[in-house]
């Protein structure tokens, strides 16, 4: 055996325990994440007697689809997906527009009261969101938008401005010479924002948008409080209505849970590359 080979074997032997420990840790975590999901999936394909037989970890004995089919209709999954998509898409889009407009002003202009404006938005980040609901509830009623999709859209759009600081970071990296060149050509400030700044921050904001969309799709509190009507059920509240039906057994319930998990999981698997890229971009701002 040549010297190089011996050196490599020795190195391999030294690193083997560490590699085993690393994989051991990660496999344990993977099991903790997947076991509850797997038993849920098994239960969705089981009959009620099978579920109460005391072997939750056993595979279903047959490919029983009744739970999945009936719960799909009972939870009205399609309506929930529709409402969630509308609320999520409109809020994310509106939030992106006003967030980037605000960030453009803060990044590119000096003006009186700028410090006050900034302090206001820092305050907005510090206020805990659930608690304000007690006082906001009356306001939403007074505005006449209680029990309409506008209520969650307004709250998700206007009450969460964390991302303006990230937008500002992105804009700071865009050279001011670009703006100046456009001004030489006679472009207005609005044209500069709309034709230069916004398109340049768009790729970065796409990832922020995905994460915000997932947060909105997973929120239960705002829709539960402001749009209780069944026609406005979202993914979260559809499942809560479904759970409230006491005639339900765990077989049907498991199937309902699977249906509600599915849409965001599908989005996650399709877009995970962008989500991770966005988180990296978000961390660079630190």
């Amino acid at each position: 055996m040549s010297n190089l080979q011996t050196a490599m074997t020795r190195r391999f032997r030294r690193q083997l325990p560490l590699a085993l420990a690393k994989h051991g840790l990660l496999i344990a975590i993977t099991l903790i994440v997947l076991v509850p999901l797997a038993t849920l999936l098994f239960a969705a394909f089981k009959t009620t007697p099978e579920i109460t037989s005391g072997k939750p970890l056993a595979l279903p004995s047959s490919f029983y689809l009744d739970n999945l089919i009936s719960s799909f209709h009972k939870a009205n999954v399609l309506l929930a997906v529709k409402n969630t998509s509308i609320i999520g898409a409109v809020s994310v889009f509106a939030n992106m527009i006003i967030g980037s407009m605000l960030a453009y002003i803060i990044a590119r202009f000096e003006f009186r009261f700028k410090r006050i404006v900034l302090a206001l938005f820092v305050f907005g980040i510090i206020v805990p969101f659930y608690t304000t609901e007690i006082a906001r509830f009356g306001l939403i009623k007074d505005l006449g938008i209680y029990n309409s999709l506008l209520a969650p859209i307004l709250i998700y759009t206007g009450a969460d401005m964390v991302q303006i600081f990230i937008y500002k970071q992105f804009m700071d990296k865009i050279p001011v010479e670009l703006d100046e060149a456009a001004m030489m050509e006679g472009a207005s400030y609005f044209t500069i924002y709309w034709k230069i700044i916004f398109p340049l921050v768009l790729p970065a904001s796409a990832t922020l948008a995905i994460i915000k969309f997932v947060d909105i799709a997973n929120d239960m509190y705002i829709p539960y409080l402001y749009i209780p009507s069944e026609q406005f059920r979202t993914l979260s509240t559809a499942l809560m209505l479904f759970y409230g039906d006491r005639t339900l057994n765990w077989a049907g319930m498991s199937a309902g849970i699977i249906w509600i998990m599915l849409p965001t999981l599908v989005v996650y698997f399709i877009l995970q590359r962008y989500i991770f890229a966005g988180l990296v971009a978000g961390a660079v701002k630190e």
Binding site: K22, H23, L25, L26, I29, T30, V33, V35, P36, L37, T39, L40, A43, I51, G54, P56, L57, I98, M101, L102, I105, F109, L120, F123, G124, V127, P128, F129, Y130, T131, T132, E133, I134, A135, R136, G138, L154, G158, A159, Y189, Y193, A217, N218, M220, Y221, S236, L239, M240, Y243, W250, M253, I257, I260, T264, Q272, I275, V280, A283, V284, E286
Partner: protein, 289 residues
């Protein structure tokens, strides 16, 4: 139009909508909350009386409030204790490792899944018919079997586990994102100088991700004091108040017992608590480079 005119116009018009929304949706409710906390408003009728600090006195004397706060403290401490492990997992995932991408997708998955679905899934998992006791049986640990959601001494820890399951992945991913911005030559230089892996973690990685650690410490205070979804959905705070949290009790006080004045006082107290705990924490935990 001159650039000076344009400048004024664009500043005013671009700031108008976000500032109006912020004043309306955040500043006004916060001030209103403060005002309501000194009244006996029931949330239904239009009339109310100012009663001074009575609501604050009542909440300090309420046993349910203290039980709930103790449960919040459990979330806070256990999540805090897991942060070092989360840093270790993140550092393993950024090192060159087979299947690292697969593990990253798995680790972050619980955060993506709908929170209501997660809560009910665990209500099933920890139910008497569920899998938890079966898992223990597989490992020959039958004596650890519990009534996970109905035993007064166990239930809150069960809920904290669900919270860890859902949120640890977010922490790990944020740590990974921060670690990726540490230049690789720091580690190369340290290796040449003979620094062990633990020393590298302690003296390069941890100081290198200082801001993200501070961010997560703050988010942990805010998150732990505001825990709502999981207890509300899984146990509704029960049995009794054994798994109630400050937020669950506040919302019940407002919307179930129609005692908006007291609930507002609780909300104001919560904001103050978040401020105090984050401040004390930032003084106690300092990360040295």
């Amino acid at each position: 139009m001159s650039y000076n005119m344009q400048r004024k116009l664009i500043i005013v018009s671009f700031l108008l909508i976000p500032i109006v929304l912020l004043l309306m949706l955040l500043v006004y409710p916060t001030l209103k909350l403060l005002q309501m906390s000194f009244t006996d408003w029931d949330g239904l009728t239009s009339g109310f009386q100012y009663i001074g600090f009575d609501n604050y006195k009542e909440l300090l004397q309420s046993e349910e409030v203290w039980v709930s706060l103790k449960n919040n403290a459990t979330y806070f401490i256990i999540h805090l204790a897991f942060i070092p492990l989360e840093i270790v997992v993140a550092s393993v995932l950024v090192s060159k490792l087979r299947a690292a991408k697969f593990y990253k997708v798995i680790v972050f998955m619980p955060y993506i899944i709908n929170g209501v679905a997660v809560a009910y899934m665990f209500a099933f998992f920890f139910s008497p018919d569920g899998s938890m006791n079966q898992v223990l049986h597989l490992f020959g640990l039958d004596r650890l079997s519990q009534s996970w959601l109905s035993d007064t001494h166990v239930v809150n820890f069960t809920l904290v586990f669900i919270s860890l399951w859902k949120y640890s992945g977010l922490h790990i991913i944020l740590f990974i994102a921060a670690m990726q911005s540490i230049p690789a030559d720091y580690y190369e230089a340290a290796t040449i100088d003979g620094a062990s892996r633990f020393q590298q973690l302690r003296h390069i990685t941890v100081p290198g991700i200082k801001t993200v650690i501070e961010l997560i410490l703050f988010l942990n205070v805010r998150g732990a004091l505001q825990v709502f979804d999981i207890p509300f959905l899984v146990t509704n705070g029960g049995p009794g108040y054994d798994s109630s949290t400050f937020m669950v009790y506040t919302i019940k006080t407002a919307f179930q017992y129609n005692h908006f004045g007291l609930a507002a006082a609780m909300a104001v107290t919560l904001m103050i608590l978040i401020g105090i705990v984050s401040f004390v924490q930032s003084k106690l935990i300092t990360i040295k480079g």
